[in-house]
């Protein structure tokens, strides 16, 4: 056979393998549903839910000072949508229940001598009590209260202070946490799906006996591997595209990068996740084992990816472990391309580890599935 004939045959084999794979996946209406609807629902629900910004945080006020200063100070809080006043109390004794029951998560206590101290030119302490059972909110909310307080101090002095702070936030001027989460979601949801699909693909054929039928055909192991890898990648890619559309057009997160770069990242990421999925598939004896292995690997990978909390906040040893997690690099790269408009030159450091993971897992999968058919 000439080189071109071999190549043509290779192409034909792949075409038929992928075609078959896609038909098997999409034939079952339940599967069609499972591949499309969850992505959309999750896109919307998580898009709304993933929020660290303060919005209508219920708070209570104990104003023991009853002065014009205290009223002026408190007006600063009712003027923002970040907080929502739930109760005005006469004294602190009622606070306990209100916070413990979860009705308010922050309380502002203004002492009796508030105005006196201020007029004497002293420093009047305002007590801020936050519910530490939701520490993400507690931390952010107390920080915000001090910011408001500082601003109030300044305005009280009449003229602006000698220093003006000009703060600018690049890429996300209003610091909307949703903007960080949604691009990450583009990577996460397809990751979950791809690793499951790739994981089950060989195990299912093995359980149903069709894998042997494939092995007695003239297909080479490489062709089977590629044929098995491409359909999950395609599906994952389509799901990423759906999420991209939701993020960009429903949540209106502005897209700063180039679609070409984003495509490259997603493809490389899919390649590495498929490699992991296929390796799991080749190691497992049956579908149940695949499910367990996938879960035990996938959950930590998602948690360590930096999608929910920044990788930088993790201790050193966990940060090292994240180097084996392709999702960590994908989340970083997608965010930078999406929000910052980074080009390939800026994110090559994210692409290399993903390539390496694919380069290790794919051969392992190929070797395993050839040698585990006993």
């Amino acid at each position: 056979m000439t080189f071109f004939e071999t190549l043509a045959l290779f192409g034909q084999h792949l075409r038929y393998l992928c075609q078959k794979e896609l038909i098997t996946i999409f034939k079952d209406p339940r599967m069609q549903f499972m591949l499309v609807m969850p992505v959309i629902i999750q896109g919307f629900i998580f898009g709304y839910a993933a929020n660290y910004n303060l919005d209508r945080v219920p708070y209570a006020v104990v104003d023991e000072s009853h002065s014009s200063s205290s009223r002026d100070y408190l007006a600063r809080f009712s003027g923002t949508t970040s907080f929502e006043l739930k109760a005005v109390l006469g004294n602190t004794s009622e606070l306990g229940d209100l916070i413990t029951s979860g009705d308010v998560i922050i309380a502002i206590v203004i002492p009796q001598d508030f105005e006196d101290v201020l007029s004497r030119g002293g420093t009047a302490p305002v007590q801020v009590i936050a519910d530490g059972r939701n520490s993400s909110i507690a931390g952010i909310a107390t920080g915000y209260v001090s910011q408001i307080t500082a601003a109030w101090n300044e305005s009280r002095r009449g003229s602006a202070g000698p220093i003006t702070i000009e703060s600018r936030t690049w890429y996300n001027p209003n610091q909307i946490t949703r903007w960080n989460f949604l691009p990450g979601l583009i990577a996460m949801i397809s990751f979950v799906q791809v690793i499951f699909l790739a994981g089950l693909s060989i195990a299912r054929e093995r359980e149903q006996g069709t894998f042997e039928q494939l092995l007695v055909t003239p297909l080479s192991p490489l062709e089977i591997l590629i044929g098995k890898a491409m359909p999950p990648m395609l599906i994952g890619f389509a799901q990423s595209a759906m999420l991209y559309l939701i993020a960009r057009y429903w949540f209106a997160v502005p897209f700063a990068g180039s679609l070409g770069t984003l495509t490259v990242i997603i493809l490389v990421f899919m390649l590495s996740s498929t490699g992991i999925g296929l390796s799991i598939s080749a190691v497992s004896r049956n579908m149940q084992q695949v499910l367990v292995y996938v879960l035990v690997l996938m959950i930590p990978m998602v948690l360590l990816s930096g999608i929910a909390t920044p990788v930088r906040n993790m201790p050193e040893f966990l940060q090292i472990i994240t180097y084996a997690d392709p999702m960590r690099f994908a989340v970083d790269a997608v965010k930078r391309v999406y929000l910052e408009g980074a080009g390939l030159a800026a994110i090559w450091r994210d692409l290399v580890p993903m390539f390496l993971i694919a380069a290790v897992t794919m051969p392992i999968a190929a070797w395993l599935f050839r040698h585990r058919t006993v």
């Binding site: 339940r30 709304y48 839910a49 993933a50 929020n51 660290y52 910004n53 303060l54 209508r56 229940d97 413990t100 029951s101 201020l118 030119g121 302490p125 305002v126 936050a130 519910d131 530490g132 939701n134 520490s135 993400s136 909110i137 507690a138 931390g139 952010i140 107390t142 001090s146 307080t149 500082a150 009280r156 002095r157 003229s159 202070g161 000698p162 220093i163 702070i165 703060s167 600018r168 690049w170 996300n172 001027p173 610091q175 960080n180 979950v192 579908m287 149940q288 084992q289 499910l291 879960l295 035990v296 930590p300 948690l303 909390t309 920044p310 906040n313 966990l318 929000l339 910052e340 800026a346």
Partner: protein, 373 residues
């Protein structure tokens, strides 16, 4: 269902069988024990929104002592690790490359401008990590304003308010303290819903139920005996988490331990019930797994208040979360761990959970029948 000697013996036999299988197929143990341990380590140590050591580029265009003094707060602070750079261009490159997350720029003639009351400080943050940006901005602004206030106190005193924050139940504001109750919830959900639905679906798929059905075993006995081992695995995983939480993170136990365990068992029963319902509906391992992931696992992470506080959610999400047993369980757990025995909440959430338990167990018994299709 009458419990007599025979039915106990039958259930004993089935339970024993299930334990044998559990021990031989390590994958279930992997999920019941290894996964909880991994979760508790990752979440406890790794997941944190606490901003620490934010790499901050400082551009001092004014070399005066006043300017230096102003940015002094970054030194020795747990929040910042300062990097001094010469030009704004360098700083911006560092920011774009994610080598620093913030830039503080002190322009030329800063000291002179302060005296004239027209000084400026420029702060630039990277919004790609909005939570970090948010916190960093607050710390920087508060620090600069404090420094400024120090100046004005010296000149013309006007008096000022200051905030003294106290975080109840979690003084140090340790992330681990509020993550650990969440991990308990995750462990119970995975072993309850996932393992049960997959293991039951496997029996349907492999046809092993057909032979079991035509024995004197009653359907109730069958269900109870099947879920008992997974109940035990889940309880084991839970105890593991409790110990780890206590040893690794000094998690306080302010409420009653017995109550906490009791509530957890109630939640576990709900999870098992959901798992049984899923398996009876799908009778297929793959679908059972997908459905479990969709309706139990992801919502309990995303919508229960575990990662994202429910108070700041849109109304629709808040409503959805009210239909998840996880929401009530998590609230209860955090209260019992960190706040103590607060009875109104315990009774309300306990009753709601009981309702869920009755609902799902009832459904499970109704839907699992000794019949082939």
């Amino acid at each position: 269902m009458k419990l007599n000697r025979h039915s106990l013996r039958r259930m004993g036999a089935l339970t024993r069988k299930e334990f044998f299988q559990l021990m031989r197929d390590q994958s279930s143990l992997l999920m019941g024990i290894v996964l909880p341990l991994i979760l508790i380590l990752i979440m406890g140590y790794g997941m944190s929104l606490d901003v620490k050591n934010v790499p901050t580029a400082i551009v001092l265009e004014d070399p005066s002592p006043t300017a230096r003094q102003m940015v002094n707060f970054t030194e020795g602070s747990a929040y910042f690790s300062p990097v001094y750079v010469r030009s704004m261009r360098t700083a911006e490159t560092l920011l774009a490359q994610h080598d620093v997350d913030a830039i503080i720029r002190v322009p030329q003639n800063f000291a002179a401008d302060v005296n004239q009351g027209t000084a400026k400080v420029q702060v630039i943050l990277n919004g790609t990590e909005a939570t970090t940006a948010m916190s960093a901005q607050r710390y920087i602004e508060a620090a600069v304003l404090t420094w400024e206030a120090g100046l004005s106190v010296r000149s013309a005193s006007a008096g000022q308010a200051t905030t003294v924050s106290r975080i109840w139940f979690n003084d140090a504001n340790t992330s681990a303290w509020f993550f650990v109750p969440g991990i308990l919830m995750l462990v119970l959900t995975t072993s309850g819903v996932f393992l049960t639905s997959v293991v039951m679906a496997r029996e349907w798929e492999r046809g092993t139920f057909e032979s079991l059905f035509v024995t004197p075993i009653k359907i109730g006995e069958l269900i109870l005996a099947k879920v008992l081992p997974y109940f035990v695995v889940a309880v084991f995983g839970m105890i593991l988490c409790l110990i780890a939480g206590n040893v690794l993170y000094d998690l306080p136990m302010r409420g009653s331990l017995i109550l906490l365990i009791g509530v957890s068992m109630l939640y576990l029963i709900i999870s098992l019930g959901i798992g049984l319902v899923i398996s009876a509906l799908t009778k297929n391992q793959f679908l059972a797994c997908q459905v479990s992931l969709m309706i139990s696992f992801l919502p309990s992470v995303m919508l229960s208040g575990f990662l994202f506080d429910l108070h700041s959610q849109p109304l629709a999400i808040q409503i959805i979360s009210q239909f998840l047993p996880t929401t009530y369980y998590l609230q209860l757990m955090k209260t019992l761990f960190l706040a103590g025995n607060y009875w109104p909440l315990i009774i309300r959430n306990g009753l709601i959970l009981l309702g869920f338990a009755i609902l799902f167990i009832g459904l499970a018994f109704r839907m699992t029948r000794k019949e082939m299709e």
